[in-house]
Symmetry: C2
């Protein structure tokens, strides 16, 4: 039996467009004499469909779409992920289902049992977990068909009280198929292979695994669809972030050579962010981006990634020096634009800044100049950039990094403006290592940008290190606090200085209000700010 795994990029909510893509792939796979084509979890509605699922009508449309797709399944079978109605009066009204389509109709439907409801996942918000498990038999092959998380509960500290594959195993399946919607983090390709190999070795069965490719707002899907033989060797792994159909005959699996992708963390992050930008624009129907180009490393990397995603003609960087900007800020930025082949705008903010200070003069009489005046500059730059987006139909890219977003080193409605945060899940130290990766063959980001001390340039001689700890230690502490969920006590036990722990934890908590209003952040780490991290805005803790 020849199986095609279809790693595709769907559009959330667009059941019609997604169905067209699915049907085209079925035709292509039939042309290649495949017996079965397998699509990812919730392929029909895209992932995550979120509260679209609370509109009963939407689920009806998805189920109708499955019937349309089924009509195309003659001489080939298909497994398609789609929400479906739960006919039982008890329990939630819908299932997260895998439809097995054959001979123009639905042959069997399998529902997801383990519903991830943590980090970015909200599946129990919508779906009823299923508790009956049956294999699907097709062309004399007994298939243990599961949906994503159903195979994922293999840690020592189990998150669920049932194990669907244990039940299915008793029915003596010949192969496992898992359809997934498993979003990217830079740790995910390794983690995923580790989890799936554990299953293969536990049950001694080959596995066909299909995942989404492409980005859905914050969530990026790297694909990494694969075939693993029963000895736990990956014999196919599809290219990360790309759409592709791949064919494997069950009879060949044992003899195929091992073949795994091997990407560095930096390469993964670069391709993830490019995918994130590209799909955000194309799926919204936008072409052109703008951003403030300060001469610092953050805006430099965002510009570089945007140019890779959208092309140099579609990215319009804007320099907005103030009286406190240094000469190298301009010259470094000019060099970067030259390297990338894009043209820039240059707008002076001195005059409107002066006018704003005049406007506030009476109110501010007798107060000392300080953070307010620094924020004013950042906000006036935001106003200018937003005016350009309004006038010319651009989307503003936000350039805040994760270290800044964490401790609130940024101005709400100022440099925190933007339709999409590109590096809001990349710590400052990671920004540097990703820049080094981008420059690995030739200097794209000018060396001076990578070596000078970081500064917001909002007052004379300002440096980030005036208000923040060194990024080396700050980022390590933030990682332990945010990604690893260590409490302040545990951080101190790990050797971080007491005062530093108190200061940083306080800043992170205090700035929840800024992050509440931050743009969507492309998620590349196992714990990004945004939908995957939901902390109280008002409260007293740690």
């Amino acid at each position: 039996m020849k199986i095609c795994i279809a790693q595709l990029n769907f559009l959330v909510g667009d059941y019609k467009g997604n169905a067209q893509k699915i049907i085209l792939s079925i035709k292509e796979a039939k042309g290649e004499s495949a017996d079965l084509i397998v699509f990812p979890e919730l392929a029909v509605c895209g992932y995550p469909p979120l509260d679209l699922l609370t509109y009963p009508n939407f689920v009806d449309h998805c189920e109708e779409t499955i019937m349309e797709i089924a009509k195309e399944c003659h001489g080939i079978a298909a497994i398609v992920g789609c929400p479906s109605r739960n006919p039982d009066i008890m329990g939630k009204n819908i299932f997260n289902s895998a439809f097995f389509l054959e001979d123009g109709k639905v042959k069997q439907v399998v529902h997801k049992a383990l519903l991830p409801t943590y980090d970015v996942f909200d599946e129990y918000r919508y779906f009823e977990p299923f508790r009956e498990f049956n294999t699907v038999t097709y062309k004399n092959t007994r298939i243990a068909l599961t949906i994503c998380e159903d195979l994922w509960d293999v840690e020592e500290d189990l998150m669920y009280t049932v194990c669907p594959m244990d039940v299915l195993y008793d029915q003596k399946p010949d192969i496992m198929i898992n359809i997934a919607a498993s979003p990217f983090s830079y740790m995910q390709p390794e983690k995923r292979k580790s989890v799936l190999k554990k299953n293969v070795l536990k049950y001694s069965l080959p596995l066909f695994y299909v995942n989404h490719a492409g980005a859905q707002t914050e969530m990026i899907f790297d694909g990494g669809s694969m075939v693993i033989n029963k000895d736990g060797k990956v014999v196919r792994e599809l290219d990360y972030f790309k759409e592709s159909l791949s064919y494997t005959s069950i009879s060949d699996i044992a003899s195929l050579p091992e073949r795994e992708n091997s990407w560095s963390k930096e390469e993964l992050i670069v391709e993830a962010l490019i995918t994130g930008i590209r799909d955000f624009f194309s799926k919204l129907g936008f072409k052109k981006a703008t951003l403030g180009l300060s001469g610092g490393v953050d805006s430099a990397i965002v510009l570089t990634l945007a140019v890779k995603a959208l092309g140099p003609d579609n990215v319009i960087p804007v320099m907005m020096p103030s009286p406190y900007s240094s000469d190298h800020s301009i010259s470094d930025s000019v060099q970067l634009c030259k390297n990338l082949g894009c043209t820039f705008k240059h707008i002076q903010i001195g005059s409107v800044f002066g006018s704003m200070l005049d406007t506030l003069k009476v109110e501010f009489e007798g107060t000392a100049e300080g953070v307010t005046e620094e924020n004013l500059q950042a906000r006036l730059r935001g106003v200018i950039l937003m005016a350009l987006t309004n006038k010319f139909g651009y989307i503003l890219l936000n350039t805040s990094n994760k270290s800044e977003v964490a401790v609130g080193y940024g101005t709400l409605y100022g440099d925190m403006c933007g339709g999409l945060s590109v590096i809001g899940d990349v710590y400052k130290t990671e920004v540097y290592s990703v820049c080094r990766f981008i420059n690995r063959d030739q200097e794209i980001i000018p060396e001076n940008i990578l070596t000078k001390a970081p500064s917001a340039e909002l007052r004379p001689g300002q440096k980030d290190s005036d208000s923040l700890p060194d990024y080396d230690i700050l980022d390590k502490l933030l990682y332990q606090f945010i990604e690893m969920h260590n409490s302040p006590d545990e951080l101190r036990k790990k050797g971080f200085p007491d005062e530093l722990v108190s200061k940083v934890v306080r800043l992170v908590n205090l700035n929840e209000y800024k992050r509440f209003q931050a743009p969507p952040i492309l998620r590349v780490s196992p714990k990004a700010f945004g939908m995957g991290r939901r902390m109280p805005l008002v409260g007293r803790y740690f």
Copy 2:
């Protein structure tokens, strides 16, 4: 047996402060010779604790706190809501628990079985649902103790597959006690009584019900704690939104007269919003608010509510007329401030607006004046208001109403700025009816503000009705789409004009990106924008 129900206002995360409040109440109840005092769900950590629960250390602290509280329970027993560790290796690591404390120690622990995971609730994100049910016996009384949602699944279309109270009923309890964290909407007081009465009548048992009071960012708790006799009559209902301890002897229940609150929708909304503002400021440690006062009804109602919540000396309204502002905008605002007894600031934006246009002149050469220039005024006002908050430590109150927030009739980083959205869950037509309620005894909000045609005054002669349908019909359509989850097809079937449905649904979807960055919105309806409504930002739907 004399039972005290303790309707209290807790602070999320503050297990130490919450424990103090709990211990003080235990002492007070003991002084009143109560046998048992009952606190709300998750009283120790506040509700909703959100991802604080993902820090294992945090749950440890909460459990330790329970031991401290237990030490105070001599001569009186207490029921206290608190998260607890699940010792089983399978399933999630924590339970949502009710601790029964007696004789200085934990006598019994009951865990929540039905975990609401819809709208604003995310409980399955954190908790393992429990499947064993046992009554608690205390002083010869057998108590069926449940937690909030455990009693809530009484609709025809059941959301869960188990019914804890059915199991407990078989153990022949004498009374039911339910501890809750049930947030407010203007429909909630009626809904809550209806649900609880259904339980009482089904099991023919009296019910003691305890809920939180006070606001936690978006979520407001009205309390409404009550005692219902076994015939389904409410014999006590605590005042909405207020903290209080109330005592009832079981032997008296049958003879107590019926006593229910009866508040209008407008009164509920007013008190909810005042509570929301007051607690947001006090729990964050802020005193003073500012807001832009335009002369329109939205800023008028927000100013009025803020003055009621914080006092006239703590609210600083700012008038920022532009060349397009009408004379009555100023005079109406002055009259309102006089009625409320607060002083206002007056800042002209003409000069900085001109300077910004000069700054953008080269870029905008040859383009027609339009929305960009309108947005510029809104954004410069935002910059001015934020400068005042930074300089003087105010919090900016946002004044957008739900109709505007729905269709995106507002400027991101402009009039959408603010630390808290006060009326973002109140439709424009509801704003008017609430104003009428506020004015019921005397004219606080000047009549002219309530009768003139709504206008953003961003260009000469502008009216809301130039770009939007009449609010009467718009609000009805929005309610059916947002609160009632009707699809566009269903809206058309309900008689809304085809073109209007397409336009409004398109606007609502299109402006998901603006709402993504909106401030927290005080929730007063059954479906507010914010954490309770999670729609895709990028997608194609409806």
